[in-house]
Symmetry: D2
Subunit: 158 residues, 4 copies
């Protein structure tokens, strides 16, 4: 299974630790971790995945490898800037959002547009003009996050 | 000035009326209206702009004109599906969000990433993981919405 | 009708003059000129269109107006770099290619993929691995170029 | 090293065999094979890479896995249609073009724009308006193709 991990390129200590644990859990279960390939949550998630033997893919904004983190196995330079967020959101079968700023918000939106289940760890709360909340499944830890991805994908294909 | 108007391709009566009034105000002030070129808020905004003599641009998801509304002067088929939302968000110097669903959410996110001022009429409320609200300037009517766009762009360039 | 004019951002005297004449002819016939919004062939074509009262659209690589030429009426910043070439190629109902380098080559390819007729003025010659030439209609002057666009679009819709 | 293999989604016997051999050679040397993930040259190249133990990435036009071939390890649905050709061209450090139609032409163009070395096996011949040929290094067999990729990347980084 492919799981996209999204979150800020600047991450505080809590978000960094959570990202590392999520990445490690993804790798331990044999899933492929997809992310934006850069710093912060992206880097910590990749570092975690490599610690448990996982494979990591980084979809980069630039046209070269100038900003890739050292835990990305397969870097994919795009040259389309932040528009690559759309691709990060869609590339996974499920998406785990950790904390994050506007880039993460854009990725949550595109994941939901494309029907990908979104699991949230301390991330955005979104209510439309009628007060209806966007369908982010909120969890508290890394194991629950990956459990929720697996359950959602199993339910969708079942 | 170019103003992007974003909102759902399905719009209730209130959102439709608001979209029409926003479009009419944009046209009356000589601004160019940019949108996604389809139904709902997009169509009503274009209809309003044409009533007051404005120019309308529709950035379409498809590779042809199959889904363009009849009030678009300059249709731009893209063939990139919903990823064209990114382009709609960036093409304006300011963005007015009316109601809307997930597509609108993605456009708000990309407008903010790109530093475009976003003015909201009954649209999404967004709080990040620390409870900080995204910087959408909320207004109640069409005149205030276009006023807010003009003021924000003047402040940015001034 | 919308006609995309493509060609190098650096243009010699002959290509520049041809671009100007093509733009002027597009404007004189009331068509909308679409281009990449920058220098060289793009700028000269826009300048020609404005001399004859046409409307010009520039689909820009950057996220702002830093590199737009002064004859673009409606600039559309995209923030996706050269990938915007795909959009320039698709936005017109027909495409006129003048001289040009690799960017122009990419636009010709995407125009043909999307079924847009391509008219060439001193531009690329393309033969596939079986020696079959790509369907570019070659002409020698600006009037013939716009004539060919009109005829091809009429034939396609007729 | 990442090598993009591009070519037609319909391939004759010769192109298919060449694609298989190229893929097998890429896998045997421990490189990652990147392609558009579908039929024809893409499928045969992936099949070859899997026979020699390589890793394959497929960057798909659709938003789901509907058209992925069975030899792709890491499918990346994009939802941007043929515009994904730009990403296929850029994702590799070098590009091998085998035969191919208009999609392949667009990928060659974007590879060259992005400074990727392009190695050709029975593919397009491209001359600009001054008769200057585009810099495709032409080879006759799979071993030479991968040799040429390695040499070009070594030269660029050396």
């Amino acid at each position: 299974m492919r799981i996209s991990v999204i979150g800020g390129q600047e991450a505080d200590e809590q978000a960094s630790r959570m990202a590392f644990e999520v990445g490690r859990e993804i790798g331990a279960r044999g899933h492929v971790l997809i992310c934006g390939g850069r710093t912060g949550v992206m880097r910590e998630a990749c570092r975690g995945a490599k610690e448990s033997g996982g494979i990591t893919v980084g979809i980069l904004p630039g046209d070269d490898l100038g900003d890739v983190n050292e835990f990305v196995d397969i870097p994919l330079p795009t040259g389309i800037g932040y528009t690559r967020n759309v691709l990060v959101a869609r590339a996974g079968e499920a998406v785990i959002a950790i904390d994050g700023q506007l880039g993460t918000l854009s990725e949550i939106a595109f994941a939901l547009i494309s029907g990908r289940p979104v699991v949230g760890l301390g991330t955005w709360e979104l209510r439309d003009g009628n007060g209806v909340e966007a369908p982010i499944e909120r969890v508290e830890d890394a194991v629950s996050a990956v459990d929720a991805c697996e359950a959602a994908v199993a339910a969708a294909s079942g």
